[in-house]
């Protein structure tokens, strides 16, 4: 064992621990799940169905996408959970790091119900997410119509900004940069404009606290996903989603099987249950508003910003293979620009 192996083994031992359910094939499956509405939805809807239909008990580890990657990388092939749930950026990172088992679509009974392109060799789409501008209709009877307007009055002094730590934050900032002449890989115009308006911006916060800050009136406009808007609306918060002239941003949330999982059979059963028609139908309903990937699910009256899954092709999408290598630099730059 050389010094590098020793350090990596030690880090793995320290970071991994012995997560229950991750190593024993005992009628359970452990999935990573996003904290908040995702965890709530899967605990109340998917877990009982999986137990009833497949006899598998669902255990959950509440982790954001970046934390899942950090844990799995630390564990070096002994992931503390059986399945990942990820957004496009962390998904690319995980693929590059070799954190997934090869995905076999033939093991899913419901695979045929998903449109082409929803399953690949790495994993399967489980929900669509749409990002736009959330605003308080009582404070702004006239919503903004473009990303550019966020940096002008009356919006900028009530704006809640988040950085590049999340998928929705990163893609929103890219769209703001594009509105000022930037591109998917050039966010310099965003930083230039941010410098001009920084003292006016109401909130520069982390993604986890933004819904609370919006609810408490600390800010009245922010970029976020339709799911957050739906959840807050269901709680009685004055909030609406404005669609920028360039269109809503769309991306898929995906499931993947962790490399080294000892519960691969149960992991497929879990994923199969999650993409089944009844589950997708229930996850789409209030208060979760998860856009379905199953073509048998009707989107009529779902409160989602699209009538069919095909419409997602016309929405704004991003290439994370280009974004990922630049993201660390952007995060560091954002820290320096916004710090007092």
């Amino acid at each position: 064992m050389n010094r590098r192996d020793f350090i990596q083994f030690g880090s793995a031992a320290a970071a991994c621990g012995l997560a229950p359910g991750a190593f024993a094939n005992d009628g359970t499956v452990t999935t990573a799940i996003y904290p908040g509405s995702w965890e709530e939805a899967y605990r109340s809807i998917v877990a009982p169905a999986l137990k009833r239909d497949a006899g598998v008990e669902l255990r959950m580890q509440s982790l954001w996408a970046v934390d899942q990657i950090a844990k799995a990388r630390a564990a070096r092939g002994r992931a503390p959970f059986d399945t990942f749930i990820l957004d496009p950026g962390p998904r690319v990172t995980a693929i590059e790091s070799g954190l997934f088992e090869k995905f076999d679509a033939s093991r899913l009974k419901n695979a045929s119900k998903l449109p082409p392109g929803m399953i690949d060799a790495h994993g399967v789409n489980v929900a669509g997410q749409f990002v736009g501008i959330a605003y308080n209709p009582k404070k702004f009877p006239k919503p903004p119509t473009s990303w550019k307007e966020l940096f002008a009055e009356p919006y900028v002094s009530r704006l809640g900004l988040t950085g590049f730590q999340t998928t929705f934050g990163t893609v929103s900032i890219i769209e703001i940069a594009k509105a000022f002449g930037g591109s998917e890989t050039d966010v310099e115009p965003f930083f230039t404009e941010l410098k001009k308006v920084l003292p006016k911006v109401a909130v520069i916060g982390n993604s986890a606290s933004m819904p609370s800050l919006f609810q408490q009136g600390q800010c009245d406009i922010m970029y976020t996903n339709t799911q957050t808007v739906g959840t807050l609306k269901a709680k009685g918060v004055d909030i609406e989603m404005a669609v920028p002239s360039s269109g809503l941003i769309a991306f898929f949330t995906t499931f993947h099987i962790a490399k080294g999982s000892k519960n691969v059979d149960n992991a497929y059963k879990f994923i199969d249950t999650a993409i089944s028609t009844p589950m997708q139908q229930q996850l789409m309903a209030s208060p979760y508003f998860m856009a379905p990937v199953n073509s048998e699910v009707s989107l009529a009256n779902a409160g989602l910003p699209l009538r069919s899954l095909d419409e997602m092709k016309n929405m704004v999408q991003h290439d994370w293979t280009k974004i990922n290598p630049l993201r660390a630099g952007w995060i560091e730059r954002f820290n320096r620009e916004v710090a007092r």
């Binding site: 350090i7 880090s11 320290a14 950090a70 730590q165 606290s209 408490q216 660390a328 916004v338 710090a339």
Partner: protein, 283 residues
């Protein structure tokens, strides 16, 4: 010879504890140091480049100073608020003391996350504080309390206050009440008794409390990121970013070591000052 053999036997009794300590405490620190001595996130190249980047970058130094200042400010605020409260505890009867102790301990039974988010409700634009100030006509527009160091210190003071109060009350409770009577019989005013008798004798508890508050507030990642937001950059936020978003473990390890060492150095200074004060006060 027999004495040596006995000492060896005693050493063998301590060995399991020593080995456990080494495994669970020292080994992770050695690993942390090892990870910090890499130039690349893949941990393939040994070197001091990451340390060099940290040392040569003023942004990191500023974040370090801000973190230590936050700890110091919170300690001062907690002492100013906590010491009178501890003295109040001392002056109460047994029932009153039980009630006050329960009030002090109660926040510890709640998650720090819940307490932090409660401060959002209190300090926000439409929160209790701003609504009260507006209703009383003391301000024309809501004050900005969230995402400021003032708001963060206010919330951290409340969150960390039990950490200061518990050792302080324990120290004060051990004092012989006859000393206060002796002090006043000898002509000392109440203030003189406080500064010449009570304060010096309560210093061990006060130092222990300050130590806990300082260590806890400098590393309070949740409160710092939720109440402070991204305008206030402290070392715990940078560690999280480097670990979980950027995946640059060497830099995360460097920042962790800097945080650990600077906090330990400050705690050493607090203890040293405390010990020197005690010596001076007893002269």
């Amino acid at each position: 010879m027999r004495g040596l053999a006995m000492r060896a036997g005693e050493g063998a009794l301590v060995l399991p504890l020593f080995l456990t300590f080494m495994l669970l405490f020292a080994a992770p620190l050695v690993l942390l140091l090892g990870v910090s001595l890499h130039n690349d996130p893949e941990l393939e190249q040994w070197g001091l480049l990451t340390w060099k980047k940290f040392v040569q970058d003023g942004f990191y130094w500023q974040a370090t100073l801000d973190t230590l200042r936050l700890g110091a400010t919170t300690v001062v605020a907690a002492v100013l608020l906590g010491y009178p409260l501890a003295l109040t505890y001392l002056s109460l009867g047994e029932r009153g003391q039980r009630i006050l102790l329960f009030i002090i301990i109660m926040p510890l039974l709640l998650s720090v996350v819940v307490r932090t988010f409660a401060w959002i409700v209190i300090l926000s634009h439409e929160g209790v504080v701003n609504q009260t100030l507006l209703a009383l006509g003391l301000t024309a527009a809501p004050l900005r309390l969230l995402q400021t160091e003032l708001g963060l210190v206010i919330s951290l003071t409340q969150i960390e206050l039990p950490m200061l109060l518990l050792p302080l009350i324990a120290a004060l409770s051990r004092l012989d009440r006859n000393l206060f009577d002796a002090s006043s019989i000898l002509g000392a005013s109440r203030w003189r008794t406080l500064f010449k008798v009570i304060l010096p004798l309560s210093l061990p508890g006060l130092i222990a409390g300050c130590t806990l508050v300082f260590a806890s507030s400098t590393t309070a990642f949740i409160s710092q990121s939720v109440i402070g937001g991204n305008r206030l950059v402290y070392l715990p936020l940078l560690i999280w970013q480097q670990t979980s978003v950027v995946y640059h473990w060497p830099m995360a390890a460097v920042i962790s070591i800097v945080l650990l060492c600077t906090v330990l150095a400050c705690l050493y200074v607090i203890n040293l000052m405390g010990r020197k004060s005690m010596r001076y006060l007893h002269v």
